[in-house]
């Protein structure tokens, strides 16, 4: 009893004290039925919980409801020049969603999405955080915001049973881009199931203005089935412990940032990406193919590095990158630990529309034979294989294989199955096999715009490949005669016709 009274001493409202005393009286009567002190203590804790609402010392700050957005969107910049009490209402959910085409997963989320809602506050704001765990959750959840200065980053104060809601407050002392995540045991599993997101504490005075801002977060998934295995996949503890994920993705699923979901921009715009890495295990080598980051806020902090190609994003860390898009085209976001990009899903796209600037990027201007100086020294050319012309279908297939490995495999994969949502399949492709000659022109001129391959639509860009007629004939013949495709031959003459007719 004594300890309870001491606890209550901090309360200010006498009315509440009285109410509580009545409750305690009531409990005394009932307590007789419980047979040890521990249970009595439990009761007292509950009584104390009734009180706790009273202990918040509400300051006189203007109250604002925080805008929350799902990736890739970011709440608008904060323009006010004073501190506010930002009220954040975030739900934790457990729901089945799409991990890749045909692949489902039970995600545990903040705000119903993976990654969780983007939160934006201003340095000096007081944040009143309400974490609501939906009644149909099985698990308790909590939140550890790396932006919080205090034990567990809010984890202990926000530990919430299903069907309950916790409130805690913190002051956003340090500006920067911070990861938040669930920290309930087993922590690894709560993170692996999707419980992470970003909170931006905007510095007073704001960040330099840009035209567009986006939210990109990388993470891995460890599933019982292999990459692409269909159906509802469950979490694989063994793979998580050995840190070998089946999926490495941006924004929670394969293809979340490609095709119709790609980020769009116009030539001349400056883009800012708020990039996070939820992990749970891997460090990202974040890179945008064809762009150089003009400015990188290293690890989401204050230090700026300029003219950066790839930047590290630690698991449980972030980075902010700014760059101006000068030329049109599709720029590919990757984790440059590159097998993750082409084989596990870590691929996104920024589509930039506008006019070419041939000074910045010319496209291919010339293709000529390269004769190194001292070409007269014959030893090199003597050892080099003579230019080969395939003499038979079998030979064409054989030569074509090498060309495929060097020019096509990175995108269409060694098994010809492509990458769902990014690069179409060549194995059994109705698009290719229906009219193989159409693909000759695709190789000569490149291919872009929407196409449908075996019922899946793609809206990507295949660059023109720099191959001669013989080579194009060989590689296409190889493709037609491999992976159970239905055979056929493309000759150099077929290619020449289309090149000439173009």
């Amino acid at each position: 009893m004594l300890c309870l009274i001491i606890d209550l001493g901090q309360g200010t409202s006498t009315a509440t004290d009285i109410r509580l005393n009545i409750e305690v009286q009531l409990m005394r009567e009932e307590m007789i039925m419980f047979d040890n002190v521990k249970q009595a203590v439990t009761l007292l804790l509950i009584a104390a919980a009734f009180m706790s609402g009273n202990q918040l010392n509400a300051k006189e700050l203007p109250i604002e409801q925080a805008v929350l957005t799902a990736a890739p969107h970011v709440p608008p910049p904060i323009t006010r020049d004073y501190s506010a009490r930002m009220v954040v209402n975030l739900d934790t959910t457990e729901e089945i969603g799409r991990l890749a085409d045909g692949v489902k997963y039970t995600f545990w989320t903040f705000g119903g999405t993976v990654p969780g809602s983007f939160i934006r506050v201003r340095e000096g704001d007081e944040v009143e955080f309400h974490l609501n765990n939906r009644p149909d959750s099985k698990m308790p959840h909590n939140i550890d915001l790396h932006a919080v200065t205090g034990p567990g980053g809010g984890a202990t104060s926000s530990f919430t049973a299903p069907g309950h809601s916790s409130t805690f407050s913190f002051k956003a002392l340090n500006p920067g881009l911070y990861v938040y995540h669930c920290a309930t045991a087993p922590v690894g599993m709560h993170i692996a199931n999707g419980m992470y997101g970003l909170i931006l504490v905007e510095p007073q005075g704001g960040l330099p203005k840009v035209d567009k801002e986006f939210y990109v977060m990388q993470s891995e998934f460890y599933t019982k089935g292999k990459y692409g295995d269909e159906g509802l996949q469950s979490f694989d503890m063994e793979e998580a412990l050995t840190e070998i994920p089946d999926y490495v993705v941006f924004n929670g699923s394969v293809g979340a940032l490609v095709g119709d979901n790609a980020i769009n921009a116009k030539v001349g715009e400056t883009i800012r990406l708020y990039v996070g890495n939820g992990g749970p295990n891997l460090v990202s080598s974040f890179h945008v193919i064809g762009e150089i980051f003009d400015a990188v806020y290293i690890e989401g902090g204050e230090m700026i590095n300029r003219n950066v190609q790839s930047t590290l994003v630690p698991a449980g860390g972030s980075t902010i990158v700014d760059f101006k898009v000068d030329v049109p085209g599709t720029f590919i976001l990757v984790d440059h630990s590159i097998f993750r990009a082409f084989n596990k899903g870590a691929l996104g796209m920024i589509k930039v529309e506008g006019d070419d600037d041939l000074v910045i990027y010319s496209g291919k201007q010339d293709d000529s034979v390269y004769l190194p100086e001292g070409g007269a020294i014959q030893t090199i050319t003597q050892n080099a294989p003579p230019p080969v012309k395939a003499a038979s279908l079998a030979q064409r297939v054989q030569f074509g294989q090498r060309i495929y490995q060097q020019n096509c495999m990175a995108c269409h994969q060694s098994n010809g199955e492509g990458i769902k949502g990014a690069f179409p399949r060549l194995a059994g492709s109705d698009y290719l096999l229906g009219n193989p000659k159409k693909s000759i022109s695709a190789l000569i001129n490149g291919l872009s715009g929407k196409i449908v391959v075996n019922g899946e639509s793609y809206n990507g860009v295949m660059p023109a490949v720099n191959l001669n007629d013989e080579q194009i004939a060989n590689v296409l013949t190889y493709v037609l005669n491999t992976w159970n495709n239905n055979g056929g031959e493309i000759t150099p003459n077929n290619v020449a016709e289309i090149r000439g007719g173009h």
Binding site: K138, M139, S234, M237
Partner: protein, 230 residues
């Protein structure tokens, strides 16, 4: 009831001052979780535990809400949920039984269909984990549908969470929840260091859930069964 022979088991957490290996004395356990019909009968005979009469201090407003949301006949044989620890204690007492202790429950729940201790079997663990990682939105099965384990106790995994008598033993020690060592173990990476078997994720989840509620909470997926001394 089913007789559970006594035995030893290693608790997930080694608490300060407690033995590494815990000896559980033999006891009886209900074969099934308490179902809605049984609990309803209890509230009719002991009306202070009925929805109308229960004191707010003993249960939250969602207490027994399934009877408002569904026909009693439809859910009669489903495990009772949305029931507080206080109410569960009172129910068992009225049957001359009691809630099992945490150690009793964990000890009995380690049994697979064929072994007293199935917890080393990867397949047994995987099956438990699968339930934990499915959303709770689907309807509950009848209590009799739960699979029987070695002791003849049904549905200890894969139906609902179950209450134990000393669910928050670990956390209520010490002066404040926030600072107790176990609390830290549950939230921080450090937890793995003192957990006896860090790969037993299913057990981790049960400990986490137990420490997330207090005795008046009523959860959608939390039920109970009773136990008894020999």
């Amino acid at each position: 009831m089913a007789r559970i022979d006594g035995g030893n088991y290693t608790a997930l957490y080694k608490q300060e001052g407690s033995a590494e290996v815990i000896t559980v004395a033999p006891f009886y356990s209900d074969k099934f979780q308490v179902n809605n019909q049984q609990f309803l009968n209890f509230t009719k005979s002991t009306t202070k535990w009925s929805k109308q009469n229960i004191k707010p201090i003993f249960a939250e407003s969602t207490y027994l809400q399934q009877f408002e949301l569904s026909n009693t006949e439809d859910i009669a044989n489903q495990p009772v949920v949305n029931v507080s620890w206080f109410a569960a204690m009172a129910y068992c007492k009225a049957q001359n039984k009691r809630l099992p202790t945490l150690d009793e429950w964990e000890y009995a729940a380690r049994a697979s269909a064929s072994h007293i201790d199935g917890s080393r079997s990867a397949e047994f663990r995987e099956r438990i984990l699968r339930w934990y990682s499915m959303p709770a939105s689907a309807g509950l099965p009848n209590v009799s549908e739960g699979e029987a384990n070695y002791w003849g106790v049904h549905g200890m995994h894969g139906v609902v969470w179950e209450m134990v008598r000393d669910f928050n033993t670990a956390l209520v020690t010490g002066e404040s929840r926030g600072d107790s060592a176990l609390d830290k173990q549950l939230f921080c990476g450090a937890g793995a260091a003192s957990a006896v078997d860090p790969s037993d994720y299913a057990a981790f989840m049960r400990y986490a859930l137990r420490s997330s509620y207090t005795a008046n909470y009523t959860l959608n997926s939390l039920g109970f069964r009773c136990a008894k001394d020999l």
